[in-house]
């Protein structure tokens, strides 16, 4: 409570003149301190596993099991990281590349298909538009467990089992993304499009050169979440990938834990840290933006 906002200051003054200030302030500060203790305890609980992960990924594998646990690094054994990355049995850099590749392709196509469709739903008139849009919205209510088995059958008929196509193809668009971007397009002034039309621009030009650059925040929010969704996807790779060389990060880490057994905990933790670190770094830089993105996408979904 280092700063008191103006409203509260006025309030405090009023209370003091009315005489009831003292009693109120004790309960107020009691409540405030409970809230603060709660916040700090929660922050510690949320932070502890990640800091334990980091500290232990840098411990000597021989003492990684030792208690008491360390939540701050006690040694800096970066060899754990090089051991995982350059291990001859597990091709870690390959897994990294697989995850990055699938993430980028998925994100690119999701943004493309979603923004095209969203623009049409927001700004163009064509028969059946409302029915189509309703159809897209209705698919949001379908649990993924329902389409899991049919998709597996389709993918195996297309002969894409154990290829990255199996992960990319079902993720080429997102009904949620279309809904989100449609809201963004609708918030742009109508006159903008009319002006471009009068100047003789075609719909494709209007879309790419005028409308698309204006929905940057929506696009980047959708892009971040699509990429993260792909990066964190565990079930898809679990269902479709068989050859170790095709594995993505999450699958590789769960396998790494089993493969190396319990003996090399520090190595498993180093592997997890490598998969978490890029996300953490990105989040530290773009924190405000990501949280705003969640607020937009969440509340309008």
């Amino acid at each position: 409570m280092a700063t008191i906002n103006p409203v509260r200051r006025i309030e405090l003054q009023e209370k003091s003149t009315s005489g009831g200030f003292k009693g109120r302030s004790i309960t107020r500060y009691f409540g405030t301190s409970i809230l603060w203790i709660f916040l700090i305890v929660m922050a510690l609980i949320e932070f502890m596993p990640v800091s334990w992960l980091f500290a232990n990924s840098l411990r000597n594998p021989a003492v990684a099991y030792n208690l008491p646990p360390s939540f701050l690094p006690t040694s800096w054994q970066w060899e754990n990281y090089t051991a995982v990355v350059f291990s001859p049995q597990i091709r870690f850099l390959l897994f990294f590349w697989n995850s990055v590749k699938i993430g980028i392709i998925t994100t690119f196509f999701t943004l493309l298909t979603c923004s095209l469709a969203a623009f049409a739903f927001a700004r163009l008139k064509f028969p059946g538009k409302n029915i189509l849009f309703f159809l897209f919205l209705a698919t949001l209510m379908i649990p993924w467990t329902v389409v899991m088995i049919p998709n597996f059958i389709i993918i195996s008929r297309l002969d894409f089992i154990d290829t990255h196509w199996a992960l990319v193809l079902p993720a080429l668009t997102s009904a949620f993304g279309i809904f989100l971007l449609r809201q963004q397009f609708m918030s742009l002034p109508e006159a903008l499009m009319d002006a471009a039309k009068i100047d003789g621009a075609g719909y494709f030009r209007i879309f790419f050169l005028i409308m698309l650059p204006l929905i940057g925040p929506g696009l980047s929010a959708l892009g971040i979440f699509t990429f993260l969704g792909s990066w964190n996807n565990y079930l898809g790779p679990l269902l479709y990938l068989r050859t170790t060389d095709n594995f993505t990060f999450p699958l590789a880490i769960v396998t790494l834990q089993g493969y190396m057994g319990t003996g090399n905990r520090a190595h498993v933790l180093a592997g997890i840290m490598i998969s978490v670190a890029p996300v953490l770094a990105f989040f530290l830089l773009a924190q405000r933006y990501i949280i705003q993105g969640i607020a937009i996408t969440g509340l309008k979904g």
């Binding site: 509260r8 922050a43 698919t139 079902p170 769960v254 989040f283 949280i291």
Partner: protein, 313 residues
Amino acid sequence: MGVLSSPDSVVAGGLKERKRWNFHWYEALAGYGFVLPAIVAILVFTIIPIFIALGLVFMEYDILSPAKFVGFENIKRIFTDARLGNSYLVTLKFVFMATLVNNILGILLALGVNRSMPGIMKYFLRTTLFFPVLTTSASLAVVWQYLMATDRGILNYLLNQIGLASVPWLSSSSWALASVVIYDVWRACGYMMVLYLAGLQGIPESYYEAAKIDGADGFQLFRYITLPLLSPTAFFCVVTSIIGASQVFDNAMVLTRGGPQDATRLIALYIYEKGFKGFEMGYASTISVTLLIILLLITLFQFWFSKKWVNYE
């Protein structure tokens, strides 16, 4: 596209034509073109699969041999499958606990973080509270496996330090589900916090000022302004939590693999097991369709219910 007029008639009939259909043929064509890629993708990987799933309800299929029509066998089996009943019970408990704890913590955290405090403090709190949301649930479940180990686990070590007995977090069937809930809350409560924070910040400051002038105290402000105006947000968050929690897979799959003795066999794990371990795709689809029906009913009920207790401005 039979309804589209030919280019000639547009030139000839100009305005009149446009008024009749309320669209221009070129604009409509562009519209269909823009929507096409998304339509194809959603058709092949969402809409056709729904019909396949519905068809599989009456089939026996193991992917290798051709599908066999079995009539209502799968549907009959649902009512006699004790493990399915158990799985739904486990899912119900999980959804209830996860939704309740996530939303209560979400509101409290949002109220806390929304207070005026130094910028650096705000940044620190938001980062630590929110970061777990972005991490890979499967990988962090591996970390939590180490934390929750019965012997030499970190949580039990901390419990022992303050004089409490060790808890068999993942190895006892009475604790395993609670452990999966704890892990879920650890990952998801930051997300709820952000949603509630957005809701809190959407309440106009002037309402509070007006109430304060009328002499309302802190609790009254919360009870009569914050709570009612937060109810649309709370409604949205509860609906999202329920629908999300009933489909949780990664957490339980990595943390406990559904065990011990089906204690954490959430419905998504059971469908996965039936479909991809037993290759009973017909029966697995039947179960997934029951889940679809249940979720649709819940959604309808919630929207009916929302009219009673949500205050939209």
